[in-house]
C-alpha cells in the first residue's frame, strides 16, 4: 500500500512545470486586461438588468437612441474578448494549484481563505462566460433561470474579483513595473517567451471579437464568420421569435384584426387600413437584443402619442402594449410616459418600405428608441393607456 507521503511525492510541485513563459509578469498583464473586460462586462450587464426591470425611482430616457445597442453590444464583445484572456491567465497560474498547504494554523486559515476566494472567482467567471455564450445561441442545458442566475453569479464574480485584486495588489504593482521577460537569459532560446504568449492572448482575444462582433457592428458583418446572427432575415432584419414560435401566426393574419385602444373606460378599435390612413412617420431605429445582436432599420407607422391623443389621453401617459403572442415570455410591455412622448415611438406598420413581415410583427408592432428588443412588442392588438 502506498502511503500518503508516497502519493504526495507523485503530485507535481510548482517547480516541476517547465515553461519559462509562465510568470507573474505575464499573469499581471493578462490579468489587467481581463479585469478591464470583466468590469466593462459587469457594468453593461447591470445596465441591461436595469433596462429590463427599471426601479421605480429611475426614468430611462429614449436618448441616446442607440444606447442599449452600444451597451449590450459591448457586453457581449467584452465577454467574448475575456474568454481567451481568462484561459491564458488560468494557464499562467496553473502550477500554483500545486503549492503545498503551509504549516501553522494561522497560515493555513489565510491560505484556505485565499484559495476559497480564487475558487469563487474562477467558478463564477467560467460560469458567466459559459452561460452567456450559450444564451446567445439559445441553448439552455440547465435547470435554473438564465437571467436571474447570470445576474446573481455576476455579483459573486465581480465581488471575488475585487477581493482577488485586494489580495494581489502589491504583487500586481511590482509585476507591472518590471520588464515582462525574466532578467536572466533564456536557457532555451527555442521556447515560447512571455512576450509571445501575451501577444498571442491579445491576438486571440481580438480575433474572437472580430470574428463574432459583426452581429452588431455593421462593417464587420462579412468578417464575422462565427457570429450567431449573420445579420439577415425577412426584409433585411434578423428575427428572434417567429410568429409561429409565438403562437401568433394564425391570429396575426386574421382580417378581423383590430387594434384596441383603451383610455380608462373609453375604447376604440382601429383596423390596419384606418391606422394606415392616419399621418405616418418614418424613423431609422435599431432592434437591439440582449443576445448582443442589433441592426438598424427604417420603420414607418403611427406615433404612439397620436394614438393616445385619439381618446384624449395625456401625451406622456404610460402605455401597456399587449400582443397576440400566446407562447413564451414578454407577451406585453410597458412604455413609460417619457418614451411615449417621443415622436419616434411608433406603432410600426412598415419595415424598410414594405408591409411589415409577419415574423417582424404584422399587423403592427411597437418600435421605440433605446429599448431592449424583447420590449419592442410584436403582433400588437391592444394599447392600454394609463389615466
Amino acid at each position: 500500500m502506498p502511503t500518503v507521503a508516497d502519493i504526495e511525492r507523485r503530485i507535481p510541485r510548482p517547480d516541476d512545470f517547465e515553461s519559462q513563459a509562465r510568470g507573474t509578469a505575464l499573469t499581471a498583464r493578462v490579468g489587467s486586461a481581463l479585469g478591464i473586460a470583466f468590469l466593462v462586462c459587469f457594468a453593461t450587464g447591470l445596465w441591461s438588468h436595469v433596462q429590463y426591470s427599471t426601479p421605480g425611482w429611475l426614468t430611462i430616457s429614449p436618448n441616446p437612441t442607440q444606447l442599449y445597442r452600444w451597451t449590450q453590444g459591448l457586453h457581449i464583445i467584452s465577454g467574448t474578448a475575456a474568454i481567451p484572456l481568462l484561459l491564458v491567465k488560468l494557464w499562467s497560474v496553473f502550477p500554483r494549484l500545486f503549492i503545498r498547504p503551509p504549516k501553522g494554523k494561522q497560515a493555513l486559515v489565510v491560505e484556505g481563505l485565499e484559495r476559497l476566494s480564487i475558487a469563487a472567482l474562477m467558478g463564477s467567471s467560467l460560469f458567466m462566460l459559459a452561460s452567456g455564450t450559450l444564451n446567445i445561441i439559445g441553448w439552455y442545458p440547465w435547470e435554473f433561470s438564465f437571467r436571474r442566475t447570470h445576474e446573481a453569479v455576476a455579483w459573486v464574480a465581480i465581488g471575488s474579483l475585487l477581493v482577488h485584486i485586494a489580495v494581489k495588489l502589491p504583487v500586481i504593482r511590482q509585476a507591472l513595473g518590471e520588464p515582462i521577460e525574466p532578467a536572466e537569459r533564456h536557457l532555451d532560446p527555442d521556447a515560447p517567451t512571455r512576450r509571445s504568449v501575451l501577444n498571442g492572448a491579445f491576438v486571440a482575444s481580438g480575433l474572437a471579437v472580430l470574428l463574432t462582433a459583426g452581429q452588431t457592428v455593421p462593417w464587420l458583418r462579412n468578417v464575422s464568420l462565427f457570429s450567431v446572427r449573420p445579420g439577415d432575415g425577412p426584409q433585411g432584419l434578423p428575427v428572434n421569435r417567429t410568429a409561429a414560435g409565438a403562437g401568433a401566426d394564425q391570429t396575426a393574419l386574421d382580417p378581423a384584426w383590430r387594434l384596441e385602444l383603451t383610455v380608462g373606460d373609453r375604447t376604440l378599435a382601429l383596423s390596419r387600413d384606418e391606422l394606415l390612413a392616419m399621418p405616418q412617420s418614418t424613423h431609422v431605429l435599431p432592434i437591439a437584443c440582449v443576445e448582443g445582436w442589433s441592426r438598424s432599420a427604417t420603420w414607418t407607422g403611427v406615433p404612439v402619442r397620436d394614438l393616445v391623443a385619439l381618446l384624449g389621453g395625456r401625451p406622456d401617459a404610460d402605455v401597456t402594449v399587449r400582443s397576440l403572442q400566446t407562447k413564451g415570455a414578454f407577451g406585453s410591455s410597458r412604455v413609460v410616459g417619457n418614451v411615449v412622448k417621443d415622436p419616434r415611438t411608433m406603432l410600426a406598420l412598415q419595415l424598410n418600405g414594405e408591409t411589415l413581415d409577419i415574423d417582424h410583427g404584422y399587423p403592427a408592432r411597437l418600435i421605440a428608441p433605446n429599448r431592449p428588443g424583447v420590449f419592442q412588442t410584436k403582433w400588437v392588438n391592444r394599447l392600454e393607456v394609463r389615466t
Binding site: A130, L134, G138
Partner: protein, 138 residues
Amino acid sequence: MRAARAGLGAVGVGLALWGLWLMRDFNREQLTSEAFWLAGGVVLHDAVLAPIVVLLGYGASRVLPGHFRSSTATAFLIWGTLTIVFLPVLSGQGGKAGNDTILGRPYVLSWVVMTVVLIAYAVVVALIRRRSGRGRVS
C-alpha cells in the same frame, strides 16, 4: 495602501454576498444545477483542460524541431482559445425552430479553414526562423 486594500476586499465580500442573497429564493433543483455548473467549470479546467495542455506542451518541447516550437505554441494558443470561444456555434445545439436568421453560417467549415490557416502560420514562421538562423537548429 493597506487601508485601500482592506476597503477593496470588504467591498468585494459585500458584493459577493449580495450575489448570494439574490439566489435566496432559488429552489433546490435550480441551486443544484447552478452548483453543478459553477463547480463543473473549475473541475473541467483543472482536471481535464489544463493537464492536457501541460502534457501537449511537454510533448511538443521534446518532439518538435526547435525552430517550430515558438510558432506552434502561438498557433496552438490562438487555435485552442478560439475553438473554446466558438464551441457553442460549433456544437450544433441551440437555435430556434423555423428561424433561419440565427446560427445561419457554415461554422464548422470556417473552423476548418481557421485551423488550416493557423497550421500554415506555424509552418511558415518556423521556416522563416530556420532560414534566419534564429534559435537552435535540430
